[in-house]
């Protein structure tokens, strides 16, 4: 390979990617970090105020509400989604007529744009015209404020997130199940393990890596939930249903408090980076195992 590896040829090959990446990813990150320490209203020069924006966020009830909503969505989604998608993978692994088509349909919501998913679910969750309240009215239950009320919106957002991700998580579990060594399964069956015992003591322990990877991927996706909030409630009423990123978007682009918005962006990035580092460590371990 040394023949084609002159210095300028190497430069030619790496330069486009490195320049684009540096200009449009690395530089913007540094720019945001710098802005998070300044006060800037869109004109004039940014004024350095140290941790002022971060301190102000600590006093901002909307920020804490957004953080709390993000945590609620995170916990509710993970607690429901991981067992459900795993169970669905076990179910769809059986020989079922049309099983391939079912797996494709279940994955379907994952390819729908989040913005369109949000619009679709307005017509399911809306207190007045939504499908759920229509069906509840049919059995005489009073309408529930799934979205737009004081408390339920984060749970409703979790539901939509679960809907859009269940096929994605199921597919990863399904792939993991296919990789289980058949002889171990057979041996445990010969030893007289019941279906439940086999699941509990053989299948699940052997899929620990897959569970970890699904969990970390879902966590990073949950931190990015924005379009669903944007479409379902717009963050309202009075910011009660914001997530961290939707509140960041509001503070930055609607309120034009750039310093404060970038401080939220930095907080989200740091939280996400901690999780991604964990993911890369796990993935690397998974490959050598």
């Amino acid at each position: 390979m040394i023949w084609v590896s002159s210095r300028w040829k190497i430069l030619l090959m790496v330069a486009p990617a490195v320049v684009l990446f540096t200009m449009f990813v690395v530089y913007p990150v540094l720019y945001s970090v710098w802005f998070s320490f300044t006060k800037f209203q869109g004109f004039g020069t940014p004024e350095f105020i140290g941790f002022g924006n971060y301190a102000a966020l600590g006093q901002d009830p909307f920020f804490w509400q957004a953080l709390q909503n993000t945590v609620v969505i995170l916990v509710v989604s993970l607690v429901l989604l991981i067992p459900l998608s795993f169970a669905l993978a076990l179910l769809l692994r059986r020989k079922i007529p049309g099983g391939g088509a079912l797996r494709a349909l279940v994955f379907g919501p994952a390819i729908i744009a989040p913005i369109l998913a949000g619009l679709i679910w307005v017509f399911i969750l809306d207190p007045k015209i939504g499908l759920i309240n229509r069906l509840l009215a049919g059995i005489g239950v009073a309408p529930v404020q799934w979205i737009g009320g004081d408390t339920l919106t984060p749970y409703a957002i979790s539901l939509v997130f679960i809907w859009s991700s269940i096929g994605f998580a199921m597919t990863i579990f399904y792939a993991g199940l296919q990789l289980l060594p058949g002889d171990v399964m057979e041996a445990s069956a010969l030893d007289g393990a019941t279906g439940w015992q086999q699941l509990r003591f053989v299948t699940i322990p052997m899929m620990r890596e897959t569970f970890a990877i699904v969990t970390v991927l879902l966590i990073t996706n949950i931190f990015k939930i924005f379009e669903l909030v944007y479409m379902l409630t717009g963050g309202g009423p009075v910011h009660r249903s914001e997530t961290l990123v939707s509140y960041m978007y509001f503070v930055t682009f609607t309120n034009q408090q750039y310093g404060s918005g970038m401080a939220i962006a930095v907080i989200v990035t740091v939280l996400g980076a901690i999780v991604s580092a964990g993911y890369l460590a796990l993935a690397r371990r998974g490959r050598t195992a």
Binding site: I120, R134, G195, G261
Partner: protein, 306 residues
């Protein structure tokens, strides 16, 4: 694995259990297994139906006059295609798709090309300093940890400074940049696991760098290239945060951007909104149905390959 055995099985010798589990078309075991199978089949269809129910619901609404959506949306006697006729005249469907395709094709192709070049250099070419090579790879991969939300405002300012705001490039260039880390991860991973002998032979035959990449290496990488193309096309098609900030010309809106404005555009014309949503959804679902296997593989490969 699923045929639930009674508890007493646990104390039976293994061989005997195996015999009991031996396939037989008669007897309680077979019947039990068949019942479980039927229950599982019904459950699988039921769950799948629940998952696609929201889509069926908007399709039903799209055929209802808006007055019925407020009154009796379950009625099947009032169905009409009027919503679609209205949507087709009011919605710049062709333009939305043309804009999105243009942006997707350029950004995904260029993103894959520059990532391929970098990945080739980072795994195959010989750097003077080995450490420089691996730290450069790590530098690009570090982008995997950057969420787009921290980039929105700075990229907007950057587009203004560079004078590309208001053009398609305002959106295309950041899409290329954010695709580089993931592309590099997959491409360098593939090249590392792939023997270099064919390339060495080609070089000995006197092939230059350009022909080596274009006619020798690239054809061998077709599967992984297909994966990153699909992954990125799905991303660009569905992307909203960047598009909402970087596009302000109504003639340049992408599909996602157009959908985000339906609620303001149609207000209470719910039938019209649902017909438009269905028109947006349909081409995507058709493409998905055609390339289903590749799309699923492309979107989950990050999880499996790490």
């Amino acid at each position: 694995m699923s045929a639930a055995a009674p508890v007493t099985d646990e104390i039976r010798p293994a061989a005997e259990t195996a015999q009991l589990r031996a396939p037989s078309s008669r007897g309680p075991w077979a019947r039990r297994a068949r019942t479980t199978s039927i229950v599982a089949g019904v459950a699988a269809y039921l769950v799948t139906f629940l998952i696609i129910l929201p889509l069926l619901w908007i399709v039903l609404l799209s055929f209802q006059p808006s007055s019925k959506i407020l009154g009796d949306p379950f009625s099947f006697t009032s169905l009409t295609i009027q919503n679609y006729l209205n949507a087709l005249t009011s919605l710049p469907l062709v333009q939305m798709y043309a804009n999105t395709f243009l942006i997707a094709i350029i950004s995904v192709t260029v993103g894959a090309a520059v990532s391929f070049m970098a990945a080739f250099a980072l795994t195959r070419m010989i750097f003077r300093r080995k450490a420089g090579q691996s730290s450069l790879r790590f530098y690009l991969l570090a982008g995997l940890a950057v969420p787009v939300y921290i980039l929105l405002f700075p990229v907007y300012r950057l587009d203004l400074t560079l004078g590309i705001f208001g053009t398609y490039a305002a959106l295309i260039v950041p899409y290329i940049a954010v695709s580089i880390p993931f592309n590099t991860l997959l491409l360098t991973g593939f090249l590392r696991d792939f023997p270099g002998e064919i390339e060495e032979a080609a070089i000995i035959d006197g092939v230059g760098l350009w022909r080596l990449c274009w006619s020798v290496v690239l054809p061998l990488m077709r599967p992984v290239i297909a994966t990153i193309l699909i992954f990125n096309v799905v991303y660009v098609f569905n992307e909203f945060p960047f598009a909402s900030i970087l596009i302000n010309d109504p003639n340049m809106v992408t599909v996602s951007l157009a959908v985000s404005r339906f609620q303001g555009q149609y207000t209470v014309d719910y039938g019209g909104m649902m017909a438009s949503a269905t028109l947006v959804l349909l081409p995507q679902l058709v493409i998905y149905a055609l390339f289903q296997r590749h799309v699923i593989a492309g979107m989950t490969v990050g999880a499996v390959k790490g």
